[in-house]
């Protein structure tokens, strides 16, 4: 393993689209949504630990989740769990880990990855990551992994790329697009030069810092003026002073859509962002009636195509439901049509408005 290769696993999300399973105090990345025996962040860590030294794997999360990360990833050095003082989207998070690594290892190359995605083909994933590392080690390039789309998904952003390869399997990115409507998604798919944006990035730390300096200069300055404090006992206090000065902005919007050294590697490693109950349903083993059932005491009478997630010790009897999501937890029960799951975030807002934080 190359000792200059690093990973930053971003684990600060609250997974509100997976409510009521995903809760503010214990969100999706720490759950075993698919009933696989390991939580999503555990799978993510294990995937990287195969080719990145454990001491080079960092988890950036909210301060309130530090204990959960430590508990779920006992093999991770506790110093590598970084707590953000507030939720500020991906750009400040990546600035933080980048300045920290730059102080520590100016030759560092970094993979940035979400903690809560599903990747089925670990071997293909490792191969693509190593390809990307190899490329960025030779070029001033910001690389993103683009997923070969399998269907016209309207929940993902798309990346359009130039058809002429720069080297081997690496292509220059033309544009990043927002989530398309179904018609546009079909056009993207048919055109053959669009990929799903998986939010997995690879670059040399010095190059992404140069991009910050150019495209997010204020954020760069705030961190740069305090950079000597990173990896010292003053890091936490520094961060608490730096973070409030950062804009809430994503790395995609702040840098990737603007920089002209952005490249993509078209990839296929059985990826899903597991962003919604429907994507969980798609990745679940189904019974012969098409039901995806997590829960050891679920009796399905004549329900079909349902996504059911309930505690193992709860007896659940389902009759007559077609195409529903049924999620039961200790204090919340949600029953909603699968086709209406995009409304779950509205339900969560409504719950917050009516009942406060209690059920979030």
């Amino acid at each position: 393993m190359n000792k200059h290769h690093y990973v930053a696993i971003m684990a600060g999300g609250i997974g509100s689209r997976f409510w009521p399973m995903s809760r503010t105090n214990y969100p999706k990345q720490f759950l075993d949504i698919l009933n696989t025996g390991k939580t999503l962040i555990q799978w993510t860590f294990d995937r990287f630990a195969e080719f990145i030294p454990k001491e080079n794997i960092f988890v950036v999360t909210s301060e309130e989740y530090i204990d959960i990360v430590a508990e779920q990833l006992p093999a991770l050095p506790t110093d590598n769990i970084l707590g953000e003082p507030s939720r500020k989207n991906t750009a400040p998070c990546i600035a933080y880990i980048s300045f920290k690594l730059m102080q520590k290892d100016p030759q560092a190359s970094l993979i940035v990855a979400p903690s809560d995605h599903l990747i089925l083909d670990t071997t293909a994933f490792r191969k693509v990551c190593l390809e990307a590392l190899s490329f960025v080690n030779k070029h001033n390039a910001l690389v993103t992994l683009g997923i070969q789309p399998t269907h016209p998904n309207t929940g993902y952003g798309y990346i359009q790329y130039e058809q002429h390869a720069v080297t081997d399997n690496v292509f220059k990115v033309k544009t990043f697009t927002e989530k398309p409507n179904l018609e546009l998604a079909r056009t993207f798919l048919a055109s053959g030069d669009f990929l799903w944006n998986a939010g997995i990035f690879v670059w040399q730390v010095k190059n992404v810092l140069a991009a910050f300096e150019q495209y997010l200069p204020e954020m760069f300055e705030v961190f740069a003026s305090e950079k000597e404090k990173f990896n010292t006992p003053e890091e936490k206090a520094t961060l608490e002073q730096v973070y409030p000065q950062c804009t809430n902005i994503s790395i995609d919007f702040g840098i990737m859509e603007k920089a002209n050294n952005v490249y993509v590697i078209p990839s296929s490693f059985g990826w899903s962002d597991l962003g919604t109950w429907n994507s969980a349903y798609d990745n679940f083993e189904k019974d012969y009636l098409g039901n995806a059932v997590a829960g050891e005491n679920v009796m399905v009478i004549d329900a079909t195509k349902c996504m059911v997630h309930v505690p193992d010790d709860k007896l659940v009897l389902l009759q007559g439901l077609d195409d529903f999501i049924v999620v039961d937890t200790k204090d919340v029960l949600m029953i909603c049509q699968k086709g209406r799951e995009q409304e779950i975030k509205d339900y969560v807002s409504e719950v917050k408005r009516k009942k406060g934080e209690k059920y979030l």
Copy 2:
């Protein structure tokens, strides 16, 4: 109040059609199914306590429910809570209370009533009961209260009666019928000479004992040979010896359908046997979408005509359900179409077969 007037409230049922709310160790009669502030047996007791001396009110129940009855009815003398050693349907239960009362008060008149029915018009109910008591005190008559049907219900037995009144509002019964199909129920309703069988009986104790002697002579003999033991310290031991010798048979089938001194008083006092979730639904206040909701934290998005019964502290979010029953308890969740509720008893059998007694 007449000191020879007695009531026997039958409270030994397990209410399996109200599963999973109604549980073997805490059945329907002890629950506030309709969210009224009192349990069904509390309403039943209070109804009678208005015109029957409290010391003359008896509750006949399973031994396992004696403590629950005592807790729910603190005004009832504890000696008046009678435990049956086993479930033997209504005939042995009525034989027991009748022999016991006969020893105590040979002039006793008795109202026998279920503990778990709904009666909305208490005044009308009291009036009919007093009418019936007045009639049976003058005649050797077995009186049943017949409910003027309001719709062709297929869940009730019907009583056909002679159109010529014996006295005032008392009519001779022609036949008892089993639960009809819908077509037959409609014919019954149209004919005008059928009433619902509410299972509420009124008679002098000596006369019902005479009927036992004639129509259930073996059961009569088993009790008669031990009658001196009732109201003594030996009562419990005697009962444990007597009950196993009794046939499991209802008073309707064993006596009412055979005797020729059976009379009915057509009544209207807002009665429902609350036998099923649908009957609970019918008697519930509905929201503007026709949902009957028990539970203080239920958010209905666009569900309609649902019967929802969940714990007050559980947040429940319902979207897209039409005409469903949703019942949630600590350890069981049942979702089933309202039109399929007759299958609930099959589900309960299935649960018993697959999971044992745990969830019953």
